[in-house]
Amino acid sequence: MAAAQRVSVLAGGAAIALLGGAALTVPVAPRLPAAPDSPLGAAARGEREVPSLGLTWGRLRGWERTGAGWTLVWQPVHGAWLIRAWVPDGGDDVRWRLEAAPWLPGVRLGREAARAMAPAAPSPPIARDRVGRRDWVVGGERLLGALDGGGPLPRAAPAAAPAAVGLVAIQALLGGLLLAGAAARRLVPGVASRAWRRGVAAASLALTAAVPLLGVLAPHVFEPGVRPWVAELAFGTGIVMILGALAFAAQRFPAMGGAPAAGWLAAAGAGGVLAGRIDPVAALAALAGSPLCLPVCVAAAVLAGWLAGLAGDGLGQLVRAPAVLRFVVLGVIGVGATLAAGPWLGFVVAVVAAAAVGRGGATAMATAVLWGWEVGVTRELCRWERGQLDAAALLLLGCVALGAAFLWRRRTGDPAAQGAA
C-alpha cells in the first residue's frame, strides 16, 4: 500500500471514529426514560415485594417496558390465572394485578391475599364454597373467588392526536413504499445479489429458530383461562408466518448487487445510532432483557435492512430526478421524518439512506442504519450492565463487519457485485 493511500485510510478511519464517537456521546433528550435495571432484575424485585396471594405464580412469561418501569407477567401452566406486576425504576411501590378466569373454583384467593385486600376488616376471612366459585367473607365484605385482584397498572401513554395521525400516515407511507419497491424490482430488474439472498434467508431462519424464546416479548398474548403454551404457540405461529413471508419475499424481490463505500456505511451507522438515541423503542429494550439479544439483533438488522432497502428502492424510483434535486427532496423527507416519525425514525432514516445511494447499495446502507439504530437504542435505554455490554458487543460486531466490507472491497472492487447471481 502506498504511503499516500495509508494516510488516506488512516484519515478516513479517524473521521469514522470521530463520527461514531460523536453519535454515541452527543447529548440528546431521549423520548423514553432509560431502564436502570433489567427485566429479570425487576422480576426478582417483584417476586420479593408483591404478596404471594396464596396462589402459584408459575413461570415468568413475559415483560415489556411501560413508562418508567417494567410490566411483568407470571402464569402457571394450567393458565387459570395470571399475575401482572409493574415494577417502577425507582423505589416506589410495586403495583400488581391478579386476573383470573371466571370459571374455575380453584381461583379462590389465598387467605393472605384476602386479608391484604380488606385490611380494615375486624375479623379474619371466612371461606365460603359456592357452586362454580369459592369466596371469602371478610367482615361485611365478600371477595368473589373469580374476582380480579390488585389495582390498575400503568399503560403506555398513547400518542397525542396530531402525533398519532402522523404515525398512521408514516406507516401508510412506508407500506406504500414497500409495494412500490416490490413493483420496481419486478418491473425494472437488476442484478440480484446472491450474498444478500443467502443473508436474508439465514436471518429469517435464525429468527425462526429463536421464536420459542421470544414469547417473553409479547406479554399481552397471555390471557387468564388460556394455557401459556397455547398463547406462546399462537404468538410463535404468527411470527413464523411473517418470517416465512419475508423470506419468500426476499427471494422474489431480492436485493441488488453492489455496495457503497465503507465511509458511507459508517456514516449511515452513525446516523442510525443517533436516531436510536433520540427516539428509542421500548420493544428493543425488552429484547435486550432476553438471553438471545445479540444474535436476534444481528438477524433483525439484516432482515429489516432488506425490507428498508426495498422501500428505499420504491422511494428512489418515485423521486427520480437530477442529483441535486433528488438530494434536496430526500433531505427534506429526512428532516420531516426526524420531526414526525417517532418510533419509526430508525426505519425511515434507513429508507431515506437507501434511496440516496441508489439500488446497488440500498440494502447495505439500510442495514448499516438499522444496525446503528439498535446500538443507539440499547445504549440509551438499557442502562444495566448486561444491556451496556450487549450494546458494546453489537457496536464491535458492526465495526468488524464494516472493516471486513472495507478490506473485501479493496481486494475485489465490489464485494456484493462479486456475489451477484
Binding site: A101, W103, L104, V131, G132, R133, A182, L187, V226
Partner: protein
C-alpha cells in the same frame, strides 16, 4: 372415454350418493313434534289452553353448556343429558294466541309462560304464599320431592299480588357438583310462568370455555396468514396488470359477489364478507396467470368431499374412543331453514379454498414447489376452524389431516375441485347440527348430487 370407464364412473356416482345418504340419514336433531305436544301439555297444566293454529317452533342451543355436559359425562349419556335434563339443546315453541314454552329435544319441558289471566284468583298474602308456591311446583317438574324452596318474594302490581319462588333441586341426574334451579312466578293464585336452569360445575364449564378461548387466540395467526396472502395477491395483481397478462376480471367479480352473498346469508358481518369477496375475486381473476396450479377436474371434487367427511366424522369418534373428548353436539344456528345449512357449509369453501389451495401454492410454488406450498396452507387452514377438544392437539391434528386431504384433492382436481370437496364435506359434517327432515337432508347432499352429475357428464373432448 371407454364404456368400461364410464360404467365405473356410474358406479362411483351411485356409491357416492349412497355414502352421502348414509352419513346424513337419521342424523339431526329431532323432537320437534314431541316438543309442540309437550308445550301444549305444559301450558295446559298451568291452566292455559293454547289456541288452534300451528305453533312456531325454533331451535336453540346453549353451546358451552352442552359441551360441558358432554365432557362431564363422556359418551351417549352426556349427549342424552345435554338434550334432556341438562336443557342445553331445546325447541322454543310459541303458540299463535300467546304462550310460549321451551322443551328440550329429549322431551323435558324447560320453561312455560302463559298470558296473564284476567281473573288470576284470590291474592296470596306473604304469610300464605310460601306453602302455595311450594305446592305449585308439581306443575313444573316430575320429582317435586327432590326440590327445596329457597326463597319467595312478593310484590303488588296491576292490582294483584305477585309471587316469585326460587327452588333448588340438587344435582338430580346431572353430574356431581352441578345444581338444578327453578324459578316459578304466580299472580294471584295462578301460576303464570316457570323456568328451569342449571348451574354447572366450574371445572366442567371451565375446560370447555378455556378451550374455546384458546381456539379464538389460535385463529389470530391464521388471520395473519390470510392477510399476508392478500398482500401477495395484491402484488401479483399489479405485476399481471403491468405485464398485460391474461386475467379474468368478470369471472373474478362474479365469484367475489357470490362469495360475499353466501357469506351474508351465513350470518357473517357484511364488511367481513365483502372484504373476503374482494380478495377471492382477485384470486379468481388472476388464476389464469398461475400456470403452476394443477388442471381443473371438478368432477372428482365431490368424491373427495365425501371421503373427507367420513374421515372427519370417524376422527371425532376415534378421539372419543381413545378416551379424549370432542363435542358431539356441533355448533348450530337457530330457527333457520335449510338455506342456512347450505350457506354455512359453502361459505368457507368459496372463501378459503381459492386462497389456501390457489393463491398460496401459486405464490409459493417457485420457492418450495406446488406440493410444499400446499402443505404450507395446512396449518393456516387447521387454525381457522377446529372444535374445542381434549387434548386440544387432537382437534388441531384432525383439522390438519382434513387440510392435507384438501391439498391432495386440489392436486388431483384443481382449485375448483377443492372448493366442491370442502363444500360437500362441510355439508355432510354439519348436517347433524340441524333438525331432522327431508329438506335438510336434501340441502346436505345437494353438493354430492351436483358432483355425481358432473361425474356422469361426458367429457368435452368426446
Amino acid at each position: 372415454m371407454s364404456r368400461r370407464s364410464y360404467l365405473i364412473q356410474i358406479l362411483l356416482a351411485l356409491v357416492l350418493l349412497a355414502a352421502a345418504l348414509a352419513l346424513v340419514r337419521g342424523h339431526g336433531v329431532g323432537g320437534e313434534s314431541d316438543a309442540v305436544a309437550g308445550a301444549r301439555n305444559a301450558l295446559h297444566r298451568i291452566g292455559y289452553e293454547a289456541l288452534g293454529g300451528t305453533p312456531q317452533a325454533s331451535f336453540e342451543t346453549d353451546q358451552e353448556m352442552a359441551w360441558a355436559l358432554e365432557r362431564a359425562r363422556p359418551g351417549p349419556s352426556g349427549v342424552a343429558l345435554a338434550r334432556g335434563e341438562g336443557g342445553a339443546v331445546r325447541w322454543r315453541v310459541a303458540m299463535p294466541g300467546g304462550g310460549e314454552a321451551l322443551v328440550t329435544t329429549g322431551g323435558v319441558v324447560w320453561s312455560a309462560r302463559r298470558p296473564v289471566p284476567s281473573a288470576p284468583g284470590r291474592d296470596l298474602f306473604p304469610s300464605q304464599a310460601r306453602a302455595e308456591v311450594e305446592a305449585a311446583l308439581g306443575v313444573a317438574v316430575g320429582d317435586p320431592q327432590r326440590w327445596t324452596l329457597a326463597r319467595v318474594a312478593s310484590w303488588r302490581e296491576a292490582g294483584h299480588i305477585w309471587q316469585r319462588g326460587w327452588f333448588v333441586g340438587g344435582n338430580g341426574p346431572l353430574p356431581p357438583g352441578w345444581r338444578r334451579e327453578l324459578e316459578l312466578e304466580m299472580v294471584g293464585s295462578s301460576v303464570v310462568a316457570w323456568r328451569r336452569s342449571v348451574l354447572p360445575l366450574g371445572t366442567d364449564l371451565g375446560v370447555v370455555t378455556g378451550r374455546i378461548a384458546e381456539l379464538q387466540l389460535l385463529r389470530r395467526p391464521a388471520m395473519v396468514g390470510l392477510a399476508i396472502l392478500v398482500v401477495g395477491v395484491l402484488v401479483a395483481g399489479a405485476e399481471a396488470t403491468t405485464y398485460r397478462e391474461t386475467i379474468r376480471p368478470a369471472r373474478g367479480v362474479a365469484y367475489g359477489l357470490a362469495t360475499a352473498g353466501v357469506g351474508v346469508l351465513a350470518g357473517e358481518a357484511a364488511l367481513g364478507a365483502a372484504t373476503l369477496g374482494v380478495a377471492v375475486a382477485a384470486v379468481i381473476a388472476l388464476m389464469p396467470t398461475w400456470t403452476e396450479l394443477p388442471p381443473e377436474r371438478w368432477r372428482w371434487g365431490a368424491a373427495g368431499g365425501v371421503l373427507l367427511a367420513a374421515v372427519a366424522i370417524g376422527g371425532r369418534l376415534a378421539i372419543l374412543g381413545a378416551g379424549g373428548w370432542t363435542p358431539v353436539t356441533p355448533p348450530a344456528a337457530g330457527s333457520l331453514g335449510p338455506g342456512r345449512l347450505l350457506a354455512d357449509s359453502w361459505y368457507p369453501a368459496l372463501a378459503e379454498e381459492p386462497l389456501l389451495r390457489g393463491a398460496l401454492p401459486a405464490l409459493a410454488a417457485p420457492v418450495v414447489g406446488w406440493l410444499g406450498a400446499a402443505m404450507l396452507a395446512a396449518p393456516v387452514g387447521a387454525l381457522l376452524h377446529p372444535l374445542p377438544a381434549v387434548p386440544l392437539l387432537a382437534s388441531l391434528g384432525l383439522e390438519a389431516l382434513l387440510q392435507l386431504g384438501l391439498a391432495l384433492v386440489a392436486h388431483r382436481a384443481g382449485v375448483g375441485g377443492a372448493v366442491i370437496a370442502r363444500g360437500v364435506c362441510e355439508s355432510l359434517v354439519r348436517r347433524g347440527a340441524f333438525p331432522l327432515g327431508a329438506d335438510w337432508d336434501a340441502a346436505a347432499i345437494a353438493g354430492v348430487v351436483l358432483g355425481s352429475v358432473m361425474l356422469l357428464w361426458p367429457p368435452r373432448s368426446e
